[in-house]
Amino acid sequence: MKALDIKGLAKTYRGGVQALKGIDLSVEEGDFFALLGPNGAGKSTTIGIISSLVNKSEGSVEIFEHDLATDIVNAKSCIGLVPQEFNFNQFETLFQIVVNQAGYYGVPRTLAKERAEKYLKQLDLWDKRNAAGRELSGGMKRRLMIARALMHEPKMLILDEPTAGVDIEVRRSMWKFLKEINEQGITIILTTHYLEEAEMLCRNIAIIDKGKIVENTSMKALLATLNVETFVFDLASGASKVQIEGFETRASDDQTLEVDVPKTSGLNPVFEELSKQEIQVMSMRNKSNRLEELFVRLVEANQAKGEADE
């Protein structure tokens, strides 16, 4: 079953800004799906429309086969939203915030209190249950919004940059938690600017730019299209005079060499040539992660296409 089925979705804001230009997108039940795009690409507008915070201009949205226009109660009940901005009452306690949210979905108060304990404990917030929202750290606030979104036990969780501004330790614990709930069957749609996060967690991906979907495929298939990877070599010295036949090289200084390595060549010829030239390699790393390289290329290609069309 499709967890999300979007057809021809368009949004033009008052003032004429066209945020979405008729996108089609579908997400299968149980998927861990990444919706990526640069700032202002249309990700938050798409999520806003799916979660009823933004009125669409055209198109249709179905959530687990419930049309958002005609079967709104069932459609909304399937979604849990973790928005980008903190949007809970800063003066209420954590316990009140999550129990109230369950109430809005019709969860009886006794059951809501049981679930509040369950999810606040799972997200390491139980000790803070009587603290007001404004007293929490940034990481706690993000976790609170995840707990709140799970209170009505939705089939699909939408997370809009859930790890923004969160330290690596908390981010890792959040990744672990999200993986676990996905394994339990909850469909997850994630937007993030940390592309290693998307690469590690998500099975399928869509990239949106300027209101259009520029790529929609599986993570594996997308990564397989990466023909060239850039590696950074930290050398003892001599980077500026290195030339390797069949490879494009750039020296940022005498100790740092960037080499574009085609997937078909591998790294052995690079090491052989450096050894031949008696240049000592101190260390080596990817310039950026693979998904990031692809993302930048796709967005740049789309921008170039847009400029050519104009």
Partner: protein, 260 residues
């Protein structure tokens, strides 16, 4: 009403009541102090020199009006500030993403305003009992008028909150519209007093003020006498409630002020 909607409604109502009870020093104490001052200054000090047509004192005359004044301002400001604050902090989104029907949202917020108004009404009545012995002529009329008035002004406060874009916007209407209408709504004077100050034209203009009918309907419930027929007052109240509910429903359904 389905169980889901009933749970959502009670949740919003409890949340609203918790909000104004949490800040009771700002919400419940000031009306008690203000009204005590009104009773002392207007009721005792100045009122003892005023004679009215009818067999009641000036103090007895102003008690229903002062209770109504407190009910009107508190039901209005409770909902306007609570709804605007929910917009400002964006936690209104918690309701918008959930399957809560528009009418449940309206009833929940308005219910919070009515609860605060009812508590204030009781507090002001208790304060007034320090100054006079209260005898209620028509308890049913009193309660119905009180309820319909607080629902009306809570709904008006909600509409103000929907349109408001800044904190200034939720103080403009109370300051420049609500306060003048309340003071000119017959809280402190009867129609016979108007004749000495205003000509017929201005007397009829003042009688267009809807608060005039609410105060007098409530006064009828208290004293058994008022400047207008209580049925007229109740009809005007009911009709105004229907109109304001329809406006609030339309605005929220369209997403005015809350959805892009």
């Amino acid at each position: 009403m389905s169980n889901r909607n009933l749970t959502a409604l009670s949740t919003i109502w409890i949340k609203e009541c918790t909000r104004f009870l949490r800040i009771w020093v700002q919400t419940l104490v000031p009306p008690a102090i203000t009204m005590s001052l009104y009773f002392v200054i207007f009721g005792k000090m100045i009122g003892s020199r005023i004679t009215l047509d009818g067999d009641f004192s000036y103090m007895e005359f102003i008690v229903p009006g002062l209770i109504m004044m407190a009910v009107i301002t508190n039901s209005y400001s409770n909902v306007s500030s609570s709804f605007f604050s929910a917009k400002f902090q964006r936690n209104v989104e918690e309701l918008l993403v959930a399957p809560v029907p528009t009418w449940v949202i309206i009833m929940g917020f308005v219910g919070g305003g009515v609860a605060r108004a009812a508590i204030i009404g009781v507090i002001v009545t208790l304060v007034s009992m320090l100054f006079i012995d209260i005898e209620i002529a028509h308890f049913g009329v009193l309660i119905v008028t009180l309820l319909l008035t607080s629902v009306l002004f809570a709904t008006a406060g909600l509409i103000n909150g929907i349109y408001a874009k800044s904190f200034d916007d939720i103080s403009i209407i109370p300051t420049f519209v609500l306060t003048p209408l309340t003071y000119l709504g017959g809280v402190f004077y009867s129609v016979s007093m108007l004749q000495a100050v205003f000509n017929e034209f201005w007397q009829s203009v003042i009688q267009l003020n809807p608060i005039f009918y609410m105060v007098n309907g409530f006064r009828y419930g208290f004293l058994g006498q008022a400047d207008v027929n209580y049925v007229t007052a109740l009809v005007i109240l009911l009709a105004s409630n229907v109109v304001l509910f329809a406006i609030a429903y339309r605005l929220l359904s369209k997403g005015t002020g809350i959805r892009a």
